[in-house]
Amino acid sequence: MNENKRLKRKIALGFIAALIISIFISFLSYVNLIEQNKINREIERTHYSTRQIENILMTVQSIVANQRSFIISGNESSLNSLNENIEKYRREIREYKVLVGHDERKLLMAHEFDILVEERINLSNNVVEIYHTTGRDSAVNYLLSINGPEMVVLINNKAKEIRDETDELLMHKSKTEKERSDYTRLAILLSSVLILSFIIIALVIIYRDINIRSKIEDALKQKEKLFRTVIHNFPEGSISVFDKKLRYLIYDGSAIKELGLISDQIENKKIKSILPEELYSTLHPFFIDALNGNKNSIEINYGDKTFFMTFLPLEIDRKIEGGIVITQNITKRKIAEDELKNSEAFYRAITENFPNGTISIFNEELKLLKVNGMLNEAFGYSKEEIEGKLFKDILPDHIFESIKDKYLNVFKGESVIFDQKYNGRHFFIVLVPMMNERGEILNGMSISQDVTKLKEYEEKIIQSRDFYLTLFEEFPSMIWQSDVTGKLNYFNKTWLEFTGRTLEDELDNGWKDIIHPDDLYRFTDIYGSSLDKKTPFTMEHRMKRHDGNYRWIRNHGSPYFNMEGNFSGFIGSCYDITASKNAEYKQERGRQLTTLLQNISTAANEYENIEKLTQYSIDRVSEFMKWEIGHLLWFDPIANELVSSNIWNSNLPKKYNKFREVTETLTYKENQGVIGKVLKTKRHIWMTDIAKDQEFVRKNEIKELDLKTGFAFPIKVKNEIVSVMEFYTQTFVEEDKELMKIVDSVSAQIGRAIERQWAQDALRESEEKLEKAQMIAHIGNWIWNIKDNSLEWSDELYRIYGLDHEKEKITFDKFVSLLHPDEVEPINKIIENSLENKKNFEFDHRIIRSDGVERILHGQGEVISDEKGNVTSIVGTGQDITEMKIAENKLREANKKLQEAQKELIQSEKLAALGRISSNMAHEIRNPLANIRASSQLLLAKYKEDNILKSYLDIIIRNTETANRIIRELLDFASPREIKLKKGNINKVIDSVTKLVEPRCQQNNIKLMIDNRLDKEYELLMNEKKLEEALLNFISNSIEAMPEGGSLVVVMKYDEYNEEVVVNIEDTGYGIPQENLDKVFEPFFTTKDHGTGLGMGLSHQIIKSHNGKLNINSEIGVGTTIEIKFPVITKTKSNGKADNDS
């Protein structure tokens, strides 16, 4: 600015000087010119007077001539001419005298000339007079007497004298005039050269000045741009720069909007016009203070926010040209303070182990309060020796004096950094004020570091620092700088505070250590390409903070150019954006998860092929997770295990091929590994450390591949697992709950797709079946026109009804006549209902074909209406389903038989096993039983007389018999011996049984009746003894069911339809509960206190070996009926002779 003015002033002065000189020269030239004009005019006059003299001389000569001619000729005209010329002469000489009036010398000469001429005129006049008076001769004589020509010569001489005089003057005059004009020309030339050269110089100066200025401005603009970029991104606050006139030059930063301001509207405006009056008056002293070169700060409340404002002087060329205001929104300072507390322990550890130096705390008296670190090495004092001492007493005087002020400045709020040599070592000392929450300075902290080795670095850096770097050093965000090659060679204080590292740590690519490994490649890639193109970049990456936590950093790098406009490197600024990043990350991840789900949902709806869908899903999930392994397994419901599919994440790296091979050869049961646990729980399972799972089937493989974390989730159809997807990675990953939620939805989507696919397959199958069935089945169709009651049948339908199409045309009445009589009424109702409600119908019905054969038909009808809604016709189909029905029934029956057979098979299998066990057991038990019994009998024989002994031995013997009976029954039941059957009479068996039980019935007050309804005797194949045993068993049970008495009826009858003899044993006992009915034949089932639970089973077996059927109907409190049916081999004639005997 000053330079500019000075320049302008210089240029202006130059111009003025040049102007004055040229004016002066012009004036001189002008004066010269006037003089020259005068001279010229004089010269002209002289010329004129000379010419006048010539004229006068001529006139004089004319007078002489005239006088002469008059004398000679006497001519009067000559005399007139003479007089005229005299007159002329006198006028001319008078004029001449006026002309030269100012020249006395010329005037004198003119007078003398005039006297001469007048004399001559007088002479002439005398001659004329004489001529007139005395005549011509006298005149001639007179003339001759006077010396006329001599006089003329005199006159001529006189004229010549005048002329010469004039010439001389003229010569002199013109000579002067020439000199003068030479000088003028020279002066003009000089002044022109002068002006021209000045103008050239001025132009050169101006040009040069403009050129330099534009370069400076460009460089400044670059810096400003860079600076602006940095401050525009300044988080939670703003930065402004103002000039001496308290005008904002720059005002920017993220918090600017919070203040309700817009950057463009503020810049170049007076602060006073921008800030609210009250605020301005508060801040005004601080602005002024900054302009006075002081650093200051204030905390102000504005709106609901609190800002911390720092005022710094802005020095340019060591002169204060303005100030910088850094405004920080410290509303969130609490959070920061909390974080600080967390890192306190860390700081403590650092201070205790501070390498190559000391950390000390001192107060305003410059007394050391606390000292840590490797003090001894540096100062040769022990901690105890100097704590509590004054600096003055410890340090040599000259050193104390040189550093005293620096230490005191700390208490003015300044941070001081300086170098100090001491004991031949180089120390880098940082002094910082220690403030409380209110910003009051309590003590000072001194960090001294032995940097003798680092000095080299330090110097390099100091060299490269300029105004901006000074600013950057103070800047509350992290700043880095690189050289032309892109190598990072500067990191500001904030950076080093953030990373907790030293400058030495960060240099020589040391900073790469703290970039998150996952981000480093991306970072170097982006930075590298920005470096190539010299374009700015912004990227977000994680960087390790001093406490070891990775924080998200927004890193903005811009190229910067030196004064010559050459690329000089990059300047970067970093902000901790973890808080917003977390939210952003979550949001972004949420978005990605949604996309994942959307993609898979879309695929689930679009993909027709399950394998393709599952492949796609596995790929998407693997891709999303960036996990190495993704794989699908199918569930085998029969083996209840998972079987590998060949569906893997299609980007599976080659090194996993072996894992894949092994995986595909194995199967996985419940609980085995992650997938086994999914199978068990039917839920997704996440296992952060799969190596810990003892049941992991592929233990060796996961160890080999160093797989750490895995998760798997089921795909279910109707809540049954059909498939499991598994994913593994080589890093430990905490359970991703968000993902798991999505995974459940993904699973549901795929499950739905599979279910749909299955349904489609089933549908397709059934459609195909239907088509085939229609081809095979004979379906005929019909149309019944309501208006004319006409019926049209297809050929097929005629065939079904056994009518000949050629011979007979079907009518509605004919149709009705062909229906089975029982069907007429229902079908009429169906048709009526259909016509009334315009409803389609469907029904099965029987017909009697014209050849008398009964068939079953399935009929369908559809009601057709006209535009008015009136039913015009019914169309439909008729299908002969007789065969189907028969087959169906047969199938049903076969099924039933199969089920029964199966049941029996199971029973007999059970029995076979039981038989094997019991025959072994029987032998083992019978041996000791034999011993007991034989011994007892021997005893009994010996001590016949001892009655007491006898009674006990009897008990023993009886019980061995009972035990043996149980064994026998068990053996009989378990391994039934083949019963030999022969023809026999049931009546006989019944008779002998009733005789056996009669006494017991009487004893128990039971009325026994035999109800024989058989019209004759029927021969059955039987084993009388066994049958007796069985019937006795049933009847005994009935008797036991009626301890209070009742009635027992044995009914015998003949079922003609099935050709069976039926024996019913009916009692009025307790009855058997419904739930026990099925169990009564099971071995060992008993409700009796002393029963073996084998009797009923054994009896059942006996009945079955007679090809008989047994049914039990029972009602609690009413009684039980046992129904036994025996097939009759022959109908015996009344004479008792069997048919088949013949």
Partner: protein, 124 residues
């Protein structure tokens, strides 16, 4: 001769026979019994079906082949009819199911002794 691996039963049977005034040789397995049978003459052999080394049936067959006239009573806990049929084929006098009635056994033993004596008499 009594061939019975169950020591208790062996003792009981010995008691019964000795009480009748006959001398008794006790064996617990088929082989030893057979060896002894080859050396000495026995009137009556009571043997158990279940024996170590060989079954009662095998022993029966061997004994009968050596001395077809010897009377043999077979005792078994199995009560299997097929077994009984087989034993009869080999010439067993009778078959007794365990646990047996002492009286029944006594009768059978007596029958055997009587028959044997009459045979001897006939032979003599």
């Amino acid at each position: 001769m009594i061939v019975e691996d169950d020591k208790d039963m062996n003792k009981i049977l010995s008691e019964i026979i000795s009480e009748k005034g006959f001398s008794v040789s006790n064996f617990h397995d088929g082989n030893t019994a057979l060896q002894q049978f080859k050396k000495s003459l026995f009137s009556l052999v009571i043997l158990d079906y279940n024996l170590p080394n060989m079954t009662g049936l095998e022993l029966l067959e061997s004994i009968k082949s050596i001395d077809p006239a010897v009377k043999v009573l077979m005792i078994s806990a199995h009560g299997d009819n097929r077994l009984k049929d087989k034993a009869r084929e080999f010439g067993v006098k009778d078959f007794i199911d365990k646990p047996f009635d002492l009286k029944e056994l006594n009768i059978l033993i007596d029958e055997c002794v009587t028959e044997r004596n009459s045979n001897d008499h006939f032979q003599n």
